[in-house]
């Protein structure tokens, strides 16, 4: 015998329905920022417009910035966008944790749904009366108010503040890259007058195409890539081999040799003697000046040595039994087993090589063909800065050249950052592992 249980249709037991409501409302909210949505009555959903229709005098008085109120509204709009992004991040952070959280979402959903009638009513009013669009401003605030009250009521004040802080800090960490990016793909004339701040406009890839045409940048990229690959490979092989050798008790003066290498981590002769020394060895203005001094890295040797010591001795001994020499044992047994730690140090090594620019500036001064990408970028930024300085002092700021320099520098910067950002998420665990291994010692 079956009993039919009729569930009441509520948001509580139909999370899907309520998801759709929230997503739809959020979509409208986001789209409204773009001035894209025409709701059919000749009214556009646009936060900026809404703010523009506000009565100036009241807030003017409140904020005390007379004559400048137009700007205040734009700024508040930008603030609102940041708030919304942080808020979305926060909400995501609360989902899927406890059933209590679902309650918040329900409240949020209700808030969104509750926001629809006033919006609809005002838009109808606008259609017939032509004004009174201020009502639209209720929309985002209502959502916030309802959701915030729900969260506070459920005892999530700490979570919301904490989440907001981290959301904001994360935004501060990545916004500059986004800003750089939209400035390189937007219309150069708009970029030059500082009009590209939140969204790209006039998207084009001309700047990147132009980079391909600049010989010296191609050359610099080649040098950067070459030094990263060769430098990393030699460093990793050397670290692995030396790390293996220093575990061999049979070696003449093993302890002394290990200390001889490791102690160099804690002192250096100073920049000038180092430079003169490299010059004396004939490595200035020479590609190998990037590679050879960086082959032996004591810290990485420590990491590999520690790792090898954790490998069971029997594996190696069995290889010796079969008549393998030290080198064969290293190549066939130890090296493959060390792969995890070698991955870690190679990631660090590659980033180090890609990022290093002082060596290019100090050592390769006389050979522009050997400049790395970072060095080129430095030069572009520098000419740019000094250019503006002198021109401003002379009182003749030539906009054209400034524009070109600025856009080129930003594009080169973006092109230099992209490999790291692309590689980083995949390599993150290696980075963190490396840090932890370092912490064991440090």
């Amino acid at each position: 015998m079956k009993t039919m249980i009729r569930r009441e249709w509520t948001f509580l037991n139909r999370p899907k329905a309520f998801w759709i409501t929230s997503a739809g409302a959020a979509g409208v909210l986001i789209l409204s920022l773009f001035n894209w949505v025409d709701i059919g009555f000749g009214v556009k959903f646009n936060l900026f417009n809404v703010w523009g229709k506000l009565d100036d005098s009241g807030l003017n008085f409140l904020l005390g910035w007379s004559q400048r109120f137009q700007n205040v509204k734009t700024f508040l709009s930008a603030l609102l966008i940041i708030l919304i992004v942080s808020f979305v991040l926060l909400i995501i952070s609360l989902i899927k944790y406890q059933s209590k959280k679902r309650l918040i979402l329900v409240n949020l959903g209700f808030g969104l749904v509750a926001a629809v009638p006033p919006v609809f009513i005002t838009s109808v009013l606008v259609t017939f009366q032509g004004e009174g669009i201020e009502g639209l401003t209720i929309f985002p605030f209502l959502v916030f108010a309802v959701a915030f009250i729900a969260i506070v009521l459920n005892g999530y004040t700490f979570e919301i503040l904490n989440g907001l802080f981290f959301a904001l800090f994360t935004l501060i960490c990545i916004f500059p890259f986004y800003y750089l990016f939209i400035n390189t793909i937007s219309d150069n004339n708009l970029v030059a007058v500082g009009r590209i701040n939140i969204f790209p406009q006039g998207v084009h890839l001309g700047n990147y195409a132009a980079l391909l045409g600049v010989n010296e940048i191609g050359r610099a990229a080649f040098i950067s890539i070459a030094r990263t690959i060769i430098g990393t490979v030699t460093m990793v092989l050397a670290s692995a081999f030396v790390g293996y050798l220093v575990t061999k008790n049979a070696m003449l003066g093993r302890k002394f040799i290990y200390r001889f290498i490791i102690i160099t981590m804690y002192f250096n002769a100073g920049l000038i003697p180092w430079f003169v020394n490299i010059q004396m060895l004939g490595l200035t203005n020479n590609f190998w000046g990037y590679i050879i001094p960086a082959i032996v890295q004591p810290f990485n040797i420590i990491l590999v040595k520690t790792y090898i010591e954790s490998i069971p001795k029997e594996l190696e001994e069995s290889a010796f039994m079969d008549g393998a020499g030290y080198f064969t044992t290293f190549r066939k047994i130890i090296f493959p087993l060390c792969k995890p730690i070698l991955a870690t140090i190679s990631v660090f090594g590659a980033v180090g090589h890609w990022n290093s620019f002082m060596d290019s500036i100090i050592l390769m001064g006389g050979e522009p063909r050997l400049y790395t990408l970072q060095h080129r970028l430095y030069l572009y930024l520098r000419t740019n800065a000094s250019d503006i300085e002198t021109r401003m002092r002379e009182g003749s700021l030539n906009m054209e050249s400034v524009i070109d320099n600025r856009v080129i520098s930003l594009t080169v910067a973006m092109a230099t950052i992209v490999p790291i950002i692309l590689v980083y998420p995949f390599m993150q665990r290696y980075f963190q592992k490396g840090l932890m291994l370092g912490a064991v010692k440090g």
């Binding site: 700024f75 981290f166 160099t264 100073g270 000038i272 004939g282 620019f357 912490a439």
Partner: protein, 486 residues
């Protein structure tokens, strides 16, 4: 696998050792500028060793650049003469490498030792040839139209290397003769300890070349200026304390250094607090997202940070756009903020924090995850709230890591690193941004009239003080926590 030696061979082993040590000295001599046999003209820098002349043709020829100019053709110097100097040095350099190889061979069994003795004798002959080539260039240089222009000379190194090479030949011959001929079928072999050592040797040479040899460069600190009548090794030391300009610079630079390191040390707790609060974010995915995104800035170079700063704080940048919007400035373009010399210490700290906070927090995040969850449960049962748990469980669990890092940063108080300040430096803010490292660079390399001795002295003091501080920190750590940090 022990190498079996006959009685006679063992008795004469001392001769092999003498040869080996002697070869070592010859190799070292190749790095001594004072014994450079290739310095056949006073034009060649007295700081160049035979090794430099052998590996780097440009180092040699650069000194003759002026003499080789077309307008100086009447001096009579030809390119080929300069090439001969280089080639001579190169041959001598090859000989030295040969000697080194021979020394390695002398670690093996009799067969290898005899073979090594042959190599060393051959190399010494080659070396004599090289030095003879160098000696002959003196004649060529002296016979050009205007020899006083190139100032030819016979360096003392030529005689020294002749003597050394001849001695090597005599010793090698002796070794070769006294060592008995190995039985037929004996194969070359070497003890494991020497084999391992020789595998390591190339890396030891690299370490010696790039970490120890620069110490030898401290001698520049004791060079007196050329125009001085009687040389005074402490000229630049006195200069450091008596010269008005330098006396003005040093306190300023030290203030900058201590201020910026000081702000860093005073806010060293930030990453820990960051980690503690991040751990309070219970949902996993968003926490990982925050962690990943906040560590990205750590992996871009300072030059890229500068380009980001340049984009945001330029006259038409994002920052001015915001200022214009809240009405602080009238309209774009606004002021160039990177040219502003105010609050540099604070700004540099902010950039450092932006770049490093997320990354420095990771070590604490790992620390938090290793704290026993039972502690938290027990505390909760006892009625401890969120902040009490943080204060009484999480923070004490992280303190030892914190103290190690704090001690290290105190030990590094003089080394702020120069990259950040180097890229942010401009003529407006030089006064307040120049830290010790940057000062050394600016004095020794970066200026139009580099002062190498002075920069070396400052660097020397810095190294000595840093090492002392590090060892003190190590002692303090041992005393406080019972374990060392280095």
């Amino acid at each position: 696998m022990k190498i079996i030696m006959t009685e006679k061979a063992r008795n004469w082993a001392v001769l092999v050792i003498i040869l080996r040590v002697f070869i070592l000295w010859v190799c070292l001599a190749a790095f001594l500028p004072i014994l450079n046999p290739a310095r056949v003209s006073e034009l060649i820098s007295e700081n160049y060793s035979l090794f430099t002349c052998a590996v780097s043709p440009s180092a040699t020829s650069s000194h003759f650049e002026r003499a080789l100019l077309p307008r100086n053709a009447h001096w009579g110097l030809e390119q080929s003469t300069v090439s001969i100097i280089y080639n001579g040095a190169f041959v001598a350099g090859l000989a030295i490498i040969g000697l080194g190889t021979a020394a390695c061979f002398s670690l093996g069994n009799i067969k290898m030792r005899r073979f090594g003795a042959m190599i060393s004798a051959g190399s010494a002959v080659l070396g004599i040839a090289g030095v003879t080539i160098l000696r002959s260039t003196y004649g060529i240089l002296a016979s050009i139209n205007e020899p006083e222009r190139v100032r030819p000379m016979i360096p003392g190194g030529i005689t020294a290397f002749y003597i050394m090479f001849v001695l090597v030949i005599i010793l090698s011959a002796a070794v070769f003769l006294v060592l008995p001929k190995p039985e037929k079928g004996t194969r070359m072999a070497m003890d494991a300890k020497y084999r391992l050592f020789l595998m390591m040797l190339p890396f030891l040479v690299l370490v010696a070349l790039f970490a120890y040899l620069p110490l030898f460069g401290w001698r520049y600190a004791f060079q007196s200026p050329v125009e001085l009548e009687n040389s005074d090794p402490f000229y630049w030391f006195k200069f450091l304390f008596t010269n008005r300009g330098v006396r003005m610079d040093i306190p300023r630079v030290m203030t900058n250094t201590f201020a910026m390191s000081g702000i860093g040390i005073a806010t060293a707790w930030l990453p820990m607090v960051f980690a503690v609060f991040l751990a309070e974010m219970k949902a996993n995915r968003p926490r990982h997202v925050v962690q990943t995104l906040t560590t990205i800035p750590n992996f871009i170079s300072w030059i890229l940070v500068y380009s980001v700063a340049f984009a945001i704080f330029s006259t038409e940048g994002f920052f001015n756009w915001m200022l214009a919007n809240i009405g602080v400035i009238e309209s774009l373009p606004g002021p160039a903020h990177l040219m502003d010399s105010r609050h540099i210490w604070l700004k540099m700290w902010l950039w450092g924090t932006w770049k490093g906070l997320g990354w420095s927090a990771i070590i604490y995040i790992a620390g938090i995850s290793s704290i026993d969850p039972q502690l938290y449960e027990a505390a909760t049962v006892d009625g401890a709230g969120r902040f009490r748990r943080m204060w009484h469980i999480t923070i004490p669990g992280l303190l030892s890591t914190f103290f190690v890092l704090l001690l290290l940063s105190i030990a590094n108080i003089l080394s702020n690193g120069m990259e950040q300040y180097f890229v942010f430096e401009n003529h407006m803010n030089r006064g307040t941004i120049e830290v010790l490292d940057l000062y050394i660079y600016n004095t020794g390399i970066g200026s139009n009239s580099p002062n190498i001795p002075l920069a070396t002295i400052v660097g020397m003091f810095k190294t000595i003080i840093s090492v002392t501080l590090l060892f003190t920190a190590n002692r303090v750590s041992k005393w406080l926590r019972g374990e060392t940090i280095v």
